[in-house]
Symmetry: C2
């Protein structure tokens, strides 16, 4: 059995409370620090923020030390009015009470169907089970990750150990999300849910800044369906249990790099597990005037239903790539650009190339597809992670609630 | 046989040239005026404008009188470099020569696969056939409309007769478009192609202004897949053959109203014939602060894959309506809004309503679905026309080129 990657001073777990209607599925996760931790978060910018998002933003703004995050699947607790807000708060308070934690020290996240009220009796029952289910084994890790999954088909987690001046620091993270995935998170503002734990010591301000920067080049660069959720949440807890002192300078940069590796790894896992996905797509826009220009174009390609169905069909229909790029709202000269799909150049200096359709078909039948667009009008680049659009996407989403 | 609606002084027709690979399908249309006509046009704002779009914009900017529009299906002549531009121009010149029309008096439009060069020999052959195929019968109307169709499943046309002070004025229009439909047309700037003919007398400036306003509340409010084409084109020719004098004042307003009826009628037909569509969806956002706010929200709902697959599955998943609305970039208070789907209210004052899932299912199994969102923060409204997202959409687009 491989050893657990949970950082020092954390316990995690997942149980079945019955909130999710999927028989036997674990649906309640808890991440607890044994020590007071600094916390950082990024949240959906959707106008219709779910109740747990509203609660977390308020708690993080107030600041202070945190001890944990409780998260359920099977019910998003979004668009649930005043009762939903009361329930989200009640979830935090129940964990604080039953685990003898300070007031206002727990955060909360939910995912599932929008517009249904949480079954609080089932939640309370789940908390009783959590009391005897927390730990730091690989099984605990997996139980926690499983409990927040909805239409996900595999567990998504990543971990790094960093050697710094005074010793070793660990970072571990998990993420759920396969549909309604197009995170657009800012500040104390995706339904992707990600929980990242570290035993490094980092003050809240640096933690928030480092997280925001990391999210911007990872979770904010992944799209399954273009639909930004009401519940997207990333929470990072740093509990200093590594006893390696406050991170600064080069050590903080090492931490930021490792965090970037984890968030990009998790973001790619989301795209690979996108609802109905048969292929992972990485889109890179190069030589744009600004990084934001590159990102806007990459995102527009990544969310084009015509492009995504073409990739599903293993059709090197590069015209859909340029059509999508052209409606991104970014000025460029179409007569200068190059396009490569699956390693095969299809378009050069604004004119179509003769390429072997047979070779292109073979390249696009692979599971990992890279698409590159060279704008030749600057020096900035951006990557975006996506998946194809299949019959199963329609099947999964034509009847999600029942 | 019903009588034709083609306005006075116009002849139209459609033939098979062989440009389209669909065996036997008509693929070349011509709309000719017997008299010099003023012309107006709106074109895609995609950065990668197809060669015919570039040619038309230049010709319309130069102004003057026009005698016709030639249009092909089966090849978009987009992203075809310098040769594509030469070919688009050559299409105009060939019609001018073979029909003895003044230089620079013909416009051009193309639709089909992006990135392939037009087969000019087949085009020239088609022009020979057009010479003996033009007329003003219902068959001529239908041939022209058929010749510009690609994945369309039915002919889309509309006509009005307006009684004005000095007599009767006719307007006739057709449109093609079922995929890559999310027109965003401006000024002398959608692949939907629409050709509108009128025997009214209107100066070019008023014609352009009237067309732009009409397109903005019709073709610019329809989406099949969110993908704005490289080729979208609307051309309106006014040849004065009604001999009712220059339209002004009340008569011009009557003309504008009739044009609006035609463009909305054609826009709705596009949504009804959207690729793979099983349902027509009309989204109305009411009581917004501005009409643009209402339009942005309606458009975001109309293009949400999660909303569109829910409608396909006849699932009253209104949470996806509010989630889409919330990411439109328009501020609103989610605690105030109401949502109605298929006539059934599901959400009121920001809280979910208990509604009969059985009744909702029945309502959403209908072919015409109306979704209303009441923001209660202003007095402006906007409508958007869309269709559902089905297995057939994926099928049609997973293998479009072959």
């Amino acid at each position: 059995m491989s050893s657990s990657n949970i950082p020092n001073g954390f316990k995690v777990g997942g149980v079945r409370s019955g909130i999710s209607k999927k028989e036997g599925k674990k649906d309640l996760a808890l991440f607890i620090s044994e020590f007071p931790a600094t916390a950082a978060g990024t949240f959906t910018q959707n106008m219709a923020k779910a109740a747990p998002v509203v609660v977390d933003i308020a708690r993080l703004k107030r600041g202070g030390k945190f001890y944990g995050v409780v998260a359920n699947s099977g019910c998003a607790n979004a668009c649930t009015g005043a009762e939903g807000k009361k329930n989200a708060l009640q979830m935090c308070m129940e964990i604080e009470n039953k685990f003898a934690l300070p007031k206002d020290s727990v955060l909360v996240a939910s995912t599932g169907v929008i517009g249904q009220l949480l079954n609080m009796q089932k939640f309370y029952g789940g908390v009783e089970l959590l009391k005897s289910s927390l730990g730091k084994s690989v099984k605990n890790e997996n139980d926690a990750a499983l409990a927040v999954m909805t239409t996900d088909t595999f567990i998504k987690k990543a971990a790094r150990k960093i050697k710094i001046k005074n010793g070793i620091v660990k970072i571990w993270g998990c993420v759920k999300g396969a549909g309604m995935i197009h995170p657009d998170m800012a500040g104390l503002h995706a339904t992707m849910l990600s929980f990242i734990l570290t035993d490094a010591q980092i003050d809240a301000k640096n933690l928030q800044k480092t997280l925001e920067k990391s999210v911007d080049q990872s979770f904010n660069c992944v799209s399954v369906d273009g639909d930004t959720s009401t519940n997207d949440t990333v929470i990072l807890l740093a509990n200093a249990a590594s006893k390696t002192g406050k991170l600064a300078g080069k050590d903080l940069r090492k931490f930021a790099d490792a965090l970037d590796e984890i968030t990009v790894d998790l973001a790619k896992q989301i795209a690979k597990d996108g609802e109905g996905a048969t292929k992972f797509i990485e889109i890179e826009v190069k030589n744009a005037k600004t990084a934001n220009d590159a990102k806007l174009i990459a995102r527009t390609i990544a969310t084009s239903p015509l492009f995504k169905t073409a990739v599903f069909g293993a059709d090197a229909n590069w015209g859909r790539v340029i059509a999508a790029a052209g409606r991104a709202g970014v000025p460029f000269n179409p007569d200068k650009i190059d396009i490569t799909m699956g390693g095969i150049q299809t378009f050069k200096n604004g004119a179509p190339l003769n390429f072997s359709e047979k070779r292109a078909k073979k390249a696009l039948l692979k599971k990992d597809i890279k698409v590159e667009l060279n704008l030749k009008c600057g020096k900035c680049a951006s990557k975006y992670y996506a998946c194809d659009f299949s019959y199963d996407y329609v099947k999964i989403n034509g009847d999600y609630r029942s």
